[in-house]
């Protein structure tokens, strides 16, 4: 493209041609607010046990460590899928996406298992304000991860059928942002809700 004298705009300035990634980032920021308010709830209500069990009685830290590892591995394997995609290797991309999906499914499975155990012990969301805020925050995060898995499967079908087209790449970048964002939120959850919850 030549810079002619008739050009009335700056031809060299980079600008988002279609703002999907920026728009998706702004969506993530709004999602950040949902979690921020749920964290605030947990910060305030986290010690209102109503004579019920506290975090110290309920949280299984070794299991939490495994759970955290699952989500981190899922995040990094999704990154490997992005690297394979950058090299136009469709099968490797699909394989890494599958690995990331399996790790995320393991995470959700362990979390559902934890919830079932807590409810069975009489420590359900209706037991105390602490447990209400706990189930809402952790449950919202788990729901996000579950929906992410559905999105991942959808895109795997898309990539399998139509290949690594420009549209599919853009979609995978969005899913990647979503995926890493959820891992980032989980750092806050395990640090603030679980580890600090056990201490106080």
């Amino acid at each position: 493209m030549s810079t002619s004298k008739t050009a009335f705009y700056c031809t060299e300035e980079p600008h988002p041609e279609n703002g999907t990634l920026l728009g998706f980032w702004i969506y993530l920021m709004s999602d950040c607010f949902i979690f921020a308010s749920l964290f605030a709830c947990n910060a305030v209500l986290g010690q209102n046990y109503a004579a019920g069990p506290s975090g110290k009685d309920l949280f299984d830290l070794p299991l939490l460590a495994v759970n955290t590892a699952m989500l981190l591995l899922s995040s990094v394997t999704f990154g490997f899928a992005m690297l394979a995609m950058a090299k136009d290797r469709k099968r490797a991309t699909l394989a890494w996406l599958a690995v990331a999906g399996v790790f995320a499914a393991a995470f959700v499975g362990l979390e559902i298992n934890e919830f079932i155990h807590m409810v069975a012990e009489g420590a359900g969301p209706d037991r105390s304000a602490f447990l209400s805020s706990f189930f809402t925050l952790v449950g919202t995060h788990g729901l996000h991860v579950s929906l992410g898995i559905i999105w991942l499967l959808t895109l795997m079908v898309q990539v399998g059928r139509y290949g690594l087209t420009a549209d599919n790449r853009r979609r995978l970048y969005c899913l990647g942002m979503f995926w890493h964002f959820l891992d980032l939120i989980w750092v806050g959850v395990f640090s603030f809700v679980y580890l600090v919850g056990v201490l106080r």
């Binding site: 988002p16 920026l22 921020a36 990154g79 490997f80 970048y173 980032l184």
Partner: protein
């Protein structure tokens, strides 16, 4: 007018090649080394707080809580840099601007909510364990 609108058209078409404008920008940041560095840092920053809490390394609870939260904050930055590839230039800086805007609002929302709600909560009528037990019906 015709000339310039034609120009705009080719300008847009330039970016819609195989990889797409945005995708190309992102590709440049993602490297195997980056992901592995992020993974190792995140693993270490996860292991330390678990170790601190599970083995009761620090005597003072308050200090442990502060250290755990500080390590969590550091890990969030690690995730943003190595996994989300945040930097000041992506999307002409709009990503960073949106992030800063969000952080400011989150600090206001979190800080103010915790402040106000904590006061409200502290001023609630105290509930005795017996009453709570009776009310819950369990």
């Amino acid at each position: 007018m015709n000339r310039s609108s034609g120009k705009v058209h080719t300008h847009a078409a330039d970016h819609r090649q195989v990889h797409g404008h945005e995708a190309g920008q992102q590709d440049a940041h993602a490297t195997l080394k980056g992901y592995l560095t992020g993974f190792v840092l995140a693993a270490v920053l996860t292991a330390i707080p678990f170790w601190l809490v599970m083995d009761h390394v620090i005597q003072s609870k308050e200090t442990t809580i502060l250290v755990v939260l500080a390590l969590g904050a550091v890990q969030i930055v690690v995730h943003m840099v190595y996994f989300l590839h945040m930097n000041t230039t992506s999307e002409s800086g709009w990503n960073m601007l949106a992030l800063i805007f969000t952080l400011v609002l989150v600090v206001i929302v979190l800080g103010a909510s915790i402040w106000v709600m904590h006061n409200e909560n502290a001023n609630m009528m105290p509930m005795s364990p017996q009453y709570a037990h009776h009310k819950m019906g369990s």
